[in-house]
Point group: C2
Chain length 209, copies 2
């Protein structure tokens, strides 16, 4: 069976970068199809009809004998590519622990840290709606709680789960690495800083952005 993958992405998105990390680490070639989310290029009827009705990136497109199929949601796409590799740990508890941090990332970490980065770096505070401006305090507070939980977890261990990099490290890496762009000084989180370096030193895991 001949398999190929296309990543529908915006290169500025940390969610998209996660998938490139997994593919790079495993040596899987990805064809890139880039969209500019600031220009609404994923919010078109064509995107809904041909890629994903959720009108959001990333979407991993799988080409194989069954025809094109699509996986939205960054963490699910990472799982698909990583199945059978050492990025998913052996052991039932460790797998659940890895998923625990992956769900935490999508529920508590990304919606706050990534959204603030998007607003500060790409939209611009002056261009935010009043409704968005009103959410900055709550999002900042939850983001700090998330970073403190990571700092505490990493104070006594090298990796999020077990004794090597897993998908938990992968999915938490992009928006933690760019936390300064979300206005959270990483100097406040020394254990996170050491962990970021550790992830960067895993061969092929952090390709050029």
């Amino acid at each position: 069976m001949s398999e190929g993958y296309t990543l529908h992405e915006d290169p500025r998105s940390g969610n998209c970068y996660k998938i490139k990390m997994v593919a790079s680490y495993l040596g899987i070639p990805l064809t890139i199809r880039a969209y500019d989310i600031l220009k609404g290029e994923t919010r078109t009827p064509e995107f809904a009809a041909n890629v994903s009705k959720a009108n959001a990136i990333p979407v991993l497109e799988i080409q194989d004998d069954l025809g094109p199929r699509f996986i939205p949601e960054s963490n699910a796409a990472c799982w698909y590519l990583a199945e059978g590799s050492d990025l998913i740990p052996e052991g039932r508890f460790n797998r659940a622990e890895m998923l625990r941090w992956m769900f935490f990332e999508q529920n508590t970490h990304e919606p706050n840290i990534a959204t603030l980065r998007f607003w500060y770096q790409f939209v611009g505070v002056d261009n935010l709606s009043e409704e968005q401006k009103a959410m900055i305090t709550a999002k900042s507070n939850t983001a700090v709680s998330a970073l403190r939980l990571l700092e505490d977890h990493l104070a006594t261990r090298d990796w999020m789960v077990g004794d090597a990099a897993t998908l938990a490290d992968v999915v938490l890496f992009p928006y933690t690495q760019t936390a300064e762009e979300s206005r959270f000084p990483l100097a406040n989180y020394p254990a996170i800083g050491r962990w970021l370096e550790r992830v960067e030193n895993v061969p092929a895991l952090t390709p050029p952005r």
Copy 2:
């Protein structure tokens, strides 16, 4: 190996109910330890020290020969209990598709639909902070998008993934079933209504709340 489980929960929480669904379906006994989140009973130093530093429920506690271990995050706890059962489908694509909907649930569905339910039903609109009140419109809009995506998905299929109930149906069930408490009339979503009935008819999958 003798195994036992304690679910640290608030009985009103749909996130906790997911875990009870999986345990009921698989015939796994759970010891219940209830907390009142409105009284801050999970926000204590004792809870942080003894159950979870994230100070949130649910937490699944595993008792076995290795001593007590804890899994926060409802969807990770569901995965732990369901490993090896038919709630996790065979087939790499179907597993990724199931995880896609589980991450969607935690990123897009639950933070909006469940939070609005909590505010309307348990906190009371009059008791919300100005910051919270300012978030109602955005949360309502995203919740409606999430429900429309589900409605569209279920218009042409009986189950979220494949041809039987999986964890994707389990984790999306609780806060969709109570969507009226979040002020979203289910009459607007007929395919969702038929799916809710289908889930309710799976033997043992929806124990008494």
